[in-house]
């Protein structure tokens, strides 16, 4: 914050500790009180986690938490999907390292990648102890982790050999994979159908969140453009929709979706409960994404659009090639923030009777065998959600620095 002195002397650890914690008498008292409180809480938590908590509730229901009541004999499809996802993730990470955009030298294993690989390996090795999974399942996780790292290494090693014309098509892998995943999960094309009511747990949570995230973004973009349009009908329509949705709690909209959507559509056309909730989530998030994008659009000087128009670009091209690339870059953090809260909002599905992660947890705890094991289950869910949300936030920050590599270092023009 303060002015940086030209000569930075790195003080010793002891001196730094003293300056940070015991600068004055009051600071010392606060520090001692905080340290005492932290040690008490930490010891209590460690004692509970290691000796008092009964983790069998997690290990006995691990399949239920992961995929809900997905038929056992069809679960190979989910394993296949997980494997494909791991391969695609490894490939993308490796290629991103092989072609850094910011002009920084290509380093195949920078420090944070080595960290990520180490964390992955530790997680894969540690999970059997924590969850007491069956050996065959654990072996599959090891294989998938190995494949991910292998794909990462191979893409980093030979990625540069891919010709530039082929490289442009690689990002299309992800939408393709999404479609393949939907077919694998729901069936069709020769696979046995699995009804949405049989999806559950983490599978349902991730599916709902990814579906809503993918669809709410284009919708939100259109709404934001509509709100800034000079055509009064478009503008007022968008404003009305955005303000209506933002004024209502999500739970009342989900309630509306479950109870009124059937009345609004001709008989038999209304989708089943799971897809109704998915569409409500999408339309809900679109209004918030629209506001995030609008703030990005507002940050772009009007001269940009005017210049593009006066160069002869038609309106759609001026928006797509000139305004939106800049506006979306500005809107990125706020948009990802909305995605994170969308992921958290999927827990509300449990209130309308769907078996997402929290809904599954409620059914598990209604089982007399696991009565009173609330703390264990909620703690595991909290850790899971925290990791997912924090990972999204980290990814957003990484993408931000990749998209504007110079914004953080003003010394470079």
């Amino acid at each position: 914050m303060g002015p940086v002195s030209p000569v930075m002397v790195r003080p010793g650890a002891w001196l730094r500790l003293r300056r940070e914690l015991f600068a004055s008498r009051l600071d010392g008292l606060i520090s001692i009180a905080l340290i005492a409180a932290l040690v008490t809480v930490g010891l209590g938590l460690a004692k509970w986690v290691l000796f008092q908590a009964q983790w069998t509730v997690i290990s006995a229901n691990s399949t239920l938490f992961a995929v809900g009541r997905y038929p056992l004999e069809q679960q190979w499809r989910l394993w296949l999907l997980t494997t494909l996802l791991a391969l695609a993730t490894g490939l993308s990470c490796g290629l991103l390292r092989a072609f850094p955009r910011s002009g920084a030298p290509a380093r195949s294993w920078p420090r944070n990648d080595r960290w990520a690989a180490a964390i992955l390996v530790v997680l894969a090795l540690w999970r059997p102890m924590a969850l007491q999974l069956a050996l065959p399942i654990q072996l599959r996780w090891w294989a998938i982790t190995g494949l991910l790292l292998l794909a990462r290494w191979a893409a980093g090693r030979w990625g540069a050999a891919i010709p530039a014309s082929a490289r442009r098509w690689i990002p299309l892998l992800w939408p393709l994979l999404y479609l393949v995943g939907m077919v694998l999960i729901s069936g069709g094309l020769g696979l046995v159908r699995v009804a949405p009511s049989e999806w559950g747990g983490l599978l349902l949570t991730l599916l709902m969140a990814s579906f809503a995230i993918l669809l709410c973004f284009p919708l939100g973009l259109l709404l934001a453009l509509g709100r800034r349009s000079s055509l009064p009908l478009l503008r007022w329509g968008s404003v009305l929709y955005i303000e209506f949705v933002r004024g209502a709690p999500l739970i009342t909209l989900l309630f509306l979706g479950q109870n009124i959507l059937g009345f609004l559509l001709p008989g038999g056309l209304a989708p089943d409960r799971v897809w109704r909730a998915a569409w409500v989530l999408t339309f809900f998030a679109a209004a918030y994404v629209a506001e995030a994008v609008r703030s990005g659009l507002a940050a772009i000087p009007p001269g940009q659009l005017e210049a593009a128009r006066s160069l002869g670009l038609p309106m759609p091209q001026a928006l797509i090639h000139v305004v939106l690339p800049q506006a979306l870059r500005v809107a990125l953090p706020a948009t990802v923030g909305q995605f994170i809260s969308l992921l958290q909002d999927t827990t509300l599905l449990s209130l309308i009777g769907l078996l997402d992660l929290l809904g599954t947890a409620r059914t598990v705890m209604a089982n007399p065998a696991f009565l009173g094991r609330n703390a264990e289950v909620y703690l595991v869910l909290a850790v899971l959600f925290w990791c997912c949300c924090a990972a999204l936030g980290l990814g957003s920050r990484a993408l931000e620095t990749r998209l504007n590599p110079h914004s953080l270092s003003p010394s470079q023009p």
Binding site: M1, G2, P3, E20, L21, A23, S24, D27, I30, S31, L34, I35, S230, L231, P232, L233, L234, G237, G247, A248, P249, L250, I251, T252, F255, L256, N259, I260, G262, F263, L264, L265, P266, G267, I340, Q344, D345, T347, L348, S350, L351, L358, N374, A375, Y378, L381, A382, F385, W386, C389, A390, G393
Partner: protein, 313 residues
């Protein structure tokens, strides 16, 4: 050309709305549920565990919904005060000279923001408040007793005497009792929204130039005086608009009360719908009520914003 586009979009929207409304009317007629409001005067027939206004099962539905609204307003008002106090404390703690306090404030914000509110609410209700012991084993703090049957606080009794909680025949008695459902909801809302408000406050304080701190310091202001007299009045210009949206989101989040057994407007509306089947009317009442609450908060905060903004002469 633009007008053509507009006419096309308008036509599509119009046709869509007409299609949906036509279906609605046809389906409602078939189900015998055409819009009426007379059912609001029928007796509700269900009890509400705790109400801010008198209510019993013989009273009509509109009274039940009103009691639910009063319960919502009660928790929203308490939550606004609590979250503001907590958020301001944590937000300013991230500027403390104490490194540990600064880092703890960050940890609190990062921890709470990345865990869904609903999960936190069920945690507070089922894991913390429902696990409290009853009777003599209850958690006793000076002037406050935390038991599974409720939180008992000291307050003035009928004769204006300061009265603490007392154990009478194994049951706690006190002038003020808060149910664990309300306490769990309030705790969850305050801690969750507090984290977001802390970020708003931190952003506001960070927007005040460093020179203002230094100038106040060299004029002999104490750190606390600097904060309250110099920095906060300037930071408020940035903070108030951010607070507005956090307050509205707290009001909307209070509809998750049903997860910890507190009977708010949404919960009453759900019961009403299950009993009467009047889906459209109930949803209209729900959405309208939350819209009015949002508008009131927004109006008040815009008024406050007018007060703290820099007045240019």
């Amino acid at each position: 050309m633009p007008w053509l586009l507009q006419a096309a979009v308008g036509l599509v929207v119009l046709v869509l709305v007409a299609f949906l409304l036509g279906n609605l009317v046809r389906n409602l007629t078939n189900a015998g549920l055409l819009l009426t409001w007379s059912w609001l005067r029928n007796p509700a027939g269900f009890e509400i565990a705790e109400t801010a206004i008198p209510f019993d099962a013989a009273m009509p539905y509109w009274r039940a919904l009103l009691a639910g609204l009063a319960n919502t307003l009660k928790v929203v008002l308490a939550g606004l005060v609590g979250a503001t106090v907590l958020g301001t404390a944590v937000g300013t703690a991230s500027f403390s000279s104490n490194g540990l306090l600064r880092r703890l404030a960050r940890v609190y914000v990062e921890l709470i923001r990345n865990i869904p509110l609903l999960l936190q609410l069920v945690f507070w209700y089922f894991v913390v408040f429902l696990a409290l012991p009853n009777g003599a084993a209850a958690l006793q703090l000076p002037g406050v007793v935390l038991a599974k049957a409720g939180l008992y606080l000291s307050w003035f009794d009928g004769a204006w005497q300061w009265q603490g909680p007392q154990l009478v025949n194994g049951v706690w008695m006190a002038p003020l009792r808060i149910t664990v459902e309300f306490a769990a909801l309030l705790t969850g809302l305050v801690i969750y929204t507090g984290a977001f408000i802390a970020e708003v406050v931190r952003g506001g304080v960070a927007s005040v130039p460093q020179g203002q701190w230094e100038a106040a310091n060299s004029l002999g202001f104490s750190p606390l005086q600097t904060l309250s007299r110099i920095v906060l009045p300037q930071a408020l210009r940035v903070i108030v608009p951010g607070l507005n949206s956090q307050y509205i989101s707290l009001a909307k989040s209070s509809s998750l009360a049903v997860a910890c057994g507190y009977t708010d407007l949404y919960s009453v509306a759900e019961t009403t719908l299950n009993q009467t089947g009047r889906a459209v009317e109930v949803v209209v009442i729900l959405l309208g009520s939350y819209l009015v609450i949002d508008l009131v908060i927004s109006g008040l905060m815009n008024g406050l914003n007018g007060l703290v903004q820099l007045r240019e002469r």
